[in-house]
């Protein structure tokens, strides 16, 4: 993936020596380095680093002007904060149309108007006789069935009016559309045009003729057809200017009938205007069935008649109030970021404007409100009002002839009537779309109320594509399969109503079916709206089946995922039959422990991984049963990435269970430690400090049962050693446990002595555990390794006051002060911060079962990109935790897939330079404290690491990123993450399958200068590789527990030992990159600065040699010898050393 840009980046870093500066050892000339660092800081400040603001006292305390006071007051009343006000103003400036462009558009519109009026009329012909149309243009409508009565002739429109957002001033970039309503003359239309799509046919022919004439005009760069809001009966003509203005504006022509031509009572939702005899092509001679109503068809006609009245309403409401216009614009941006505004049934800008008009009429919004307040009020209204139950209406008249809201609910799921009381503005909006809008509004309100600092960014600037917002996504393809589903679901009347658009006909019933079936597992079901096509006038309109795939997004309820049972009613209840009918063969009678006999459905799932995918089973089963869609037509995207965190031999689990086993074993051990008798001091706390104990170890440990024949023995110590004639034994990493002992006056007050006392405790612990519990132990000066049930724990004894003792410095006057030293910081990190973090994340896992999966996928990816060693384990875990604790504007992820995508998006979009990533564990930080943290951060920015993570326990220093990453490594990660995100999203949203999901996990290797290839024989974790090797070596493990237990080989990983040696020896000259999970190659990057010839210095001769350059003697790296050293140091492990570039030639 993306080698090009990554390479470019690293080369760029190579070109700027000062960028590499901080990454290097301090042995270079101190003065020079300081200077270069200062320059870097000063240079970057100009472009992108925030600084604390310094204002002189005169400026701060000068007398305020009236204007200033007014502005301050306004900000306080109308906006949340001054920052928000500025942000909103900036955004509006960005999306609003500039006056200059408006002028150009106006000129173009006048031209269009004149051209349209000049289009010649034609002679009258039958509707079905379309021979008069020239060859270059096709009718933009599916004419099924073709035969229809009536005649057509073209006459220029009687009136051309501009309607919609352009006149209202609520048009937003990037797509500027101007809607023009062309009123067709009465002569064209006939009395019965309402029937059987005749009006729509005439409308289409009208456009076809217009298109033909306008396309010949050089004024237009392009003339296309499209659909009005995706409605397949209502084509539009799109006109774009010629030349450089092509992307300036799109003029959309809507033909509409003259005012009062159709009788409104004929267009009520209960009326039929498409006869089944005509539509189905056969005669049903009087079988007595009433014709089904055609509510959508009627609405589409009504929409055309109401264009102008809506325009008038909106212009009276909006024209005088800039705040309302701003509100509409902000809401449009809001909807757009959530992909809610496009297609048939989208929640578009028009709907929002009407909603604002409604809120103004009910006095929920006042015309003096600011844009931000309007946004807030509308969101509040949407969040609290369910239009699928309580419809609203703009109609004020109490005419008894008008239909009631209930009549509309017969036909539509969502009801919002316009001022005529006959037109449902939300006719095409499905219930699930509205629920999605509501859900988003609720989330946004919560975000606005939380007073978060970056609310604006999250609310209006963060895109929420489906694959990143929903836990699982499923695609139904090919779409033509839905036609069969329509018949199966008995949706013929709906098809007749929607003019054959089976996708929209089936959408409502299908989502309702799935919502019912998924029940408690589901929080929200959303469907993507098929994109509105645009086609050339010489082509036929695109077929329904060409509209891609239908994609559904499932937002899962983590609580519902844990059960494998769907509990039905008791067997003798009448509902039982419904239940059986709904679930078909999956429904079984079961007797439960409380004696009840009930209908129930049980899904097969044993592990969390399988339970997470129960929705897949549900969806496949229900769609096959009720909609006749076989599982080959369903592409369910939910568990593809799970393969990367599965252990090679266990495809049924993603390891959460194995982690739980290890954690339980740790719990047992801690109980043993608590109950240990004979320790001079009692144990005051036992805390886990290892990734396994917070569920974030990529590959959870399995109990080890070493084969004796595979190892050397050291019988008297009860342990095993690796043998040089065998492949490297399995890698066993001991799990660190910190064991605090109580404080006592007997502890010495001297660091060296405390160390000795701790060692004595380690020895004693080992003795006691062996004596009292028969555990195999091995003590060293700093830790005791314990083998329990095949897991190895490393117990470190800790004394609470030890960091304090290490910090004490006595000044010459005898004052004892505390100063942080590297040793004290390290000790504090290992014995205080790490256990706290581990327990906090352990708690997080209990709340969010998906945490483990996400954290492990994220870590796996970073390591697979060979960057794992630049980041501490804890820092990556914290970034993942942030996704769960601060999910805004999303909800906390419930599947590893969506969590991983958000991890990539967070890493690639977060402004690491100017912001600390605050991870509010246990919600301990208040909003004020966060503001303060932010301020402190800005003041201390240059002293802090490049990546700053703040937790409630660690507010200032960012302990987990102190030693890295360096700026280059972080930048590299950001670039890789951005690229991986776009590739992965494309793969997952591809309805025909993800292709190779491991693509983004393969690192680019061509950016490295040298590749060291390792022999798999000595890579103990070889099987964990991203591309799992077909064959690997035996690692000396038994399937069954052996007779007695000896301590296995611990922490013996030759590649890691090799890397440690390389780094120690060649730290000044090169960077080494390796994937610890079975990587077969080490990437080496030379540091460009160390390749500059340097004068001789006794302190920096490491691996260099003296050469004469001209007159001077200078030092350069002895590359040839170093390359041979790579092989020498890794004898047995290294297969080959490949120099990839000639860049090192000095």
């Amino acid at each position: 993936m993306g080698p090009a840009s990554a390479e470019e980046h690293l080369r760029r870093a190579a070109g700027e020596p000062e960028m590499m500066g901080p990454a290097m050892d301090g042995t270079v000339q101190g003065g020079k380095k300081m200077a270069s660092r200062k320059r870097t800081v000063a240079g970057s400040l100009v472009d992108s680093l925030l600084q604390p603001v310094k204002l002189s006292p005169e400026e701060l305390y000068k007398e305020p002007t009236n204007e200033e006071l007014n502005r301050l007051r306004e900000t306080e009343i109308l906006f949340h904060s001054s920052l928000l006000r500025l942000q909103v103003e900036e955004l509006l400036k960005e999306v609003r149309l500039s006056e200059k462009k408006k002028g150009r558009i106006d000129v173009f519109l006048q031209e269009v108007n004149q051209r349209i009026k000049k289009v010649p009329s034609t002679a009258e012909t039958e509707l079905i006789d379309q021979a008069w149309l020239p060859a270059g243009v096709r009718v933009p409508l599916h004419q099924v069935p073709f035969t229809v009565k009536g005649s057509f002739r073209f006459l220029p429109p009687v009136q051309v009016t501009i309607v919609g957002s352009y006149l209202l001033g609520t048009c937003t970039r990037p797509d500027i559309n101007v809607d023009m309503a062309l009123t067709m003359p009465r002569e064209i239309l006939q009395d019965k045009d309402l029937l059987n799509q005749r009006y729509f046919r005439k409308r289409a022919l009208y456009l076809a003729h217009l298109a033909d004439h306008l396309a010949r005009d050089p004024l237009f760069g392009s003339v296309h057809f499209s659909y009005a809001n995706g409605c397949h009966l209502k084509p539009l003509l799109l006109l774009r200017p010629h030349g450089k203005d092509e992307h300036l504006v799109t003029v959309r022509l809507h033909p509409c009938p003259p005012l009062d031509f159709f009788r409104p009572c004929r267009l009520l939702p209960s009326k039929n205007n498409v006869r089944s005899t005509w539509y189905q092509g056969q005669s049903h001679p009087g079988d007595g069935k009433p014709e089904p109503p055609t509510p959508h068809y009627n609405t589409w006609v009504l929409q055309d008649t109401a264009l102008e009245s809506h325009m008038q309403l909106l212009s009276t409401v909006l024209s005088s109030a800039q705040g309302l216009k701003d509100g509409v614009t902000l809401l449009k941006v809001w909807l757009r970021q959530r992909e809610l505004d496009k297609g048939l049934g989208g929640f578009n800008g028009f709907l929002i404007s009407m909603l604002i008009a409604f809120l103004v009429s009910t006095r929920k919004i006042h015309t003096t409100m600011s844009g931000y307040q309007v946004l807030r009020s509308v969101l509040q209204f949407l969040a609290t009002t369910d239009l699928t139950v309580n419809g609203i209406s703009l109609c004020l008249s109490s005419d008894p002839s008008l239909p009631a809201l209930a009549d509309f609910y017969q036909a539509f799921p969502v009801v919002f009537l316009d001022s005529s009381g006959r037109l449902n503005l939300c006719a095409d909006v499905t219930a699930s779309t509205y629920h999605q809008v509501q859900h988003e509004a609720r989330l946004s309100m919560a975000l606005l109320d939380s007073k978060a600092d970056d609310g604006f960014q999250l609310l209006l600037m963060t895109p929420k594509p489906m694959v990143r917002s929903f836990d699982h996504v499923l695609h139904v393809r090919p779409v033509s399969r839905l036609q069969a589903a329509c018949h199966r679901l008995k949706l013929c009347p709906e098809l007749q109503d929607s003019g054959g658009d089976y996708v929209s006909a089936v959408l409502g019933p299908l989502t309702a079916l799935l919502e019912k079936g998924l029940g408690t597992r589901l929080q929200l079901l959303a469907h993507s709206r098929p994109p509105v096509p645009e086609w050339d006038i010489s082509q036929d309109p695109p077929k329904h089946r060409d509209s891609g795939a239908l994609s559904l997004g499932l937002l899962l309820q983590p609580e519902g995922l844990s059960s494998v049972l769907e509990l039905g009613p008791e067997a003798d209840q009448p509902e039982a039959a419904d239940f059986r009918q709904f679930w078909g063969s999956r429904s079984e009678l079961r007797r439960f422990q409380d004696g009840a006999i009930r209908e129930a459905v049980v899904w097969e799932a044993s592990s969390l991984h399988q339970k997470r995918l129960i929705p897949h089973q549900v969806v496949t089963h229900l769609l096959a049963l009720h909609a006749d869609i076989p599982d080959t037509c369903i592409h369910y995207v939910g568990g593809f990435l799970d393969a990367l965190i599965q252990r090679p031999k266990e495809p049924s689990s993603t390891g959460e269970e194995a982690l739980t086993v290890a954690v339980c074993c740790y719990d047992d051990l801690s109980r043993l430690l608590w109950g240990l008798e004979g320790l001079p001091l009692t144990v005051s706390a036992v805390q886990g400090a290892h990734p396994v104990l917070r569920y974030t170890e990529v590959f959870p440990p399995a109990p080890v049962r070493p084969a004796f024949s595979f190892h050397e023995h050291l019988q008297e110590r009860g342990l095993l050693l690796p043998r040089s004639d065998k492949p490297c034994p399995a890698y066993v990493e001991p799990m660190t446990v910190v064991c605090h002992l109580e404080g006592s006056g007997h502890w010495p007050q001297d660091a060296e002595a405390v160390q000795r006392v701790r060692a004595a405790f380690q020895l004693r612990l080992a003795e006691l555990l062996t004596q009292q519990h028969g555990l195999q132990c091995r003590a060293t000066a700093t830790h005791t390794d314990v083998l329990k049930d095949g897991f190895v724990f490393r117990i470190r004894v800790a004394y609470q006051r030890e960091p304090q003792i290490l910090r004490e410095v006595q000044s010459p006057e005898g004052m004892i002060s505390l100063r942080d030293t590297p040793a004290s910081l390290r000790l504090e990190r290992d014995t205080k911060h790490l256990p706290l973090l581990t327990s906090a994340l352990h708690g997080l896992q209990q709340q969010h079962p998906a945490f483990s999966g996400v954290a492990r996928l994220a870590k796996r990816w970073v390591r697979a990109q060979l960057l794992g060693e630049g980041f501490t384990d804890e820092s990556l875990d914290l970034v993942t935790a942030a996704l769960f604790l601060h999910p805004e504007p999303f909800t906390p992820p419930s599947s590893p897939q969506v969590g991983f995508l958000r991890f990539l998006s967070l890493v690639s979009t977060f402004d690491w330079k100017n912001n600390p990533l605050i991870v509010n564990l246990n919600n301990e930080l208040t909003a004020e404290e966060q503001v303060e943290i932010h301020r402190d951060f800005l003041a201390a920015r240059t002293r802090l690491p490049v990546m700053v993570l703040v937790t409630p326990q660690d507010r200032k220093s960012s302990v987990w990123t102190q030693d890295g990453p360096t700026a280059q490594i972080l930048q590299q990660l950001v670039i890789l993450a951005a690229e991986a995100l776009s590739i992965l999203e494309k793969q997952l949203m591809d309805p025909w399958g993800p292709g190779d999901i491991r693509t983004v996990f393969r690192p680019p290797l061509d950016i490295y200068d040298v590749l060291i290839r390792l022999s798999p024989r000595h890579i103990p974790r070889h099987r964990q590789a991203v591309d799992c090797p077909a064959a690997s070596f035996c690692r000396g493990l038994l399937r069954e527990p052996g007779p007695s237990s000896l301590m296995p080989v611990l922490g013996y990983d030759p590649p890691q030992l090799y890397l440690a040696q390389l780094r120690e020896a060649f730290e000044d000259l090169a960077l080494f990159f390796y994937d610890q999970h079975g990587g077969e190659v080490i990437g080496v990057l030379w540091k460009p600065t160390s390749f500059q010839p340097q004068p001789f210095k006794a302190s920096s001769t490491k691996g260099r040699m003296v050469v004469s350059q001209g007159e001077e003697l200078v030092m350069v790296p002895n590359i040839e010898a170093i390359l041979e050293d790579f092989a020498v140091l890794g004898e047995g492990l290294v297969q080959s050393v490949e120099a990839q570039s000639e860049r090192w030639t000095v």
């Binding site: 060692a759 004595a760 004892i816 013996y1052 120690e1064 260099r1104």
Partner: protein
């Protein structure tokens, strides 16, 4: 690469190997198999007039750039043809000042992983140094008669060596603690003796152990005292009592708002520069 290596080798035979002034370069290789070699830069160990050094003058050879696979024993073996060797010490950096060397415990200060190091080789006679400076080399670290372990073999033997003997550890801890306890007891006895006894100028040392214990002399304690003082004073102060206080607090509020506004403007500027206001 190979071609370059050969050419350089050819050139080296003709001319002297370049070396910095005062040093002589001795090529060193791991074994016969390697083509290219590292260079040891060696000279006689000297210190400036007046400075002390723990190494004997004249007899000590100072060597730079010792490769990681070359251990003390190894270097001693390689240089022994020049004359009998008294000691070899390898260090991370050349030690500039005199540093006292404590015997390091094997358990508490594990040996660091070797990189490129410097060596101080003390010959028994001064002649050895001169002989070593004229060595032509290349020296071979690992030969058939004295193989040096590297790679897998080295790691396995390191792993075996790292297995601590608990008994030895216990003995070491016990001896250390005995010595420590003795030291502490002595100090306490001394402190007790001095308690309340004025020194020659008549000053009496007051300690925590005395009859009337005093505040510990730590920074934290003194900060605590200051904080307490400050709080006491703050309690006595009247707020919003005088008109000027009102005026000032209002002005302060305004100043805060102004500051915030400036900060916000700066952020906006930055975001605008990063094109963060484009919602598409």
């Amino acid at each position: 690469m190979v071609a370059r290596g050969k050419k350089r080798a050819a050139r080296d035979r003709e001319t002297r190997i370049p070396s910095p002034p005062g040093y002589s370069a001795i090529p060193i290789k791991f074994s016969e198999k390697q083509q290219a070699s590292h260079y040891l830069y060696a000279r006689e160990h000297r210190v400036r007039e007046g400075a002390q050094s723990s190494w004997p003058q004249k007899r000590t050879l100072f060597v730079l750039n010792v490769p990681p696979y070359c251990s003390e024993e190894c270097l001693s073996r390689l240089l022994s043809p020049c004359g009998p060797i008294q000691s070899v010490e390898l260090q991370e950096k050349p030690d500039l000042s005199e540093s006292k060397k404590e015997p390091k415990s094997r358990f508490f200060h594990p040996k660091p992983i070797p990189g490129f190091r410097v060596a101080y080789v003390v010959f028994q006679r001064a002649r050895g140094v001169a002989a070593a400076l004229t060595l032509k080399g290349p020296l071979l670290v690992s030969t058939e008669s004295h193989p040096v372990k590297s790679g897998i073999h080295k790691w396995i033997s390191d792993y075996a060596d790292a297995v601590a003997d608990p008994e030895a550890l216990r003995v070491e801890v016990d001896t250390f603690m005995e010595a420590y306890d003795k030291k502490i007891a002595e100090e306490e006895a001394k402190a007790k003796e001095e308690e309340g006894v004025p020194d020659e100028e008549g000053w009496v040392k007051v300690t925590r152990r005395g009859r009337r214990p005093v505040l510990p002399r730590t920074e934290a304690a003194s900060l605590r005292v200051l904080e307490r003082e400050r709080r006491k004073r703050a309690r006595k102060e009247l707020l919003n009592f005088y008109a000027w206080q009102h005026r000032e607090s209002k002005m302060e509020h305004l100043a805060q708002l102004r500051k915030k506004f400036e900060e916000d403007k700066q952020r906006i500027e930055l975001l605008r520069a990063q094109r963060k206001f484009r919602p598409y």
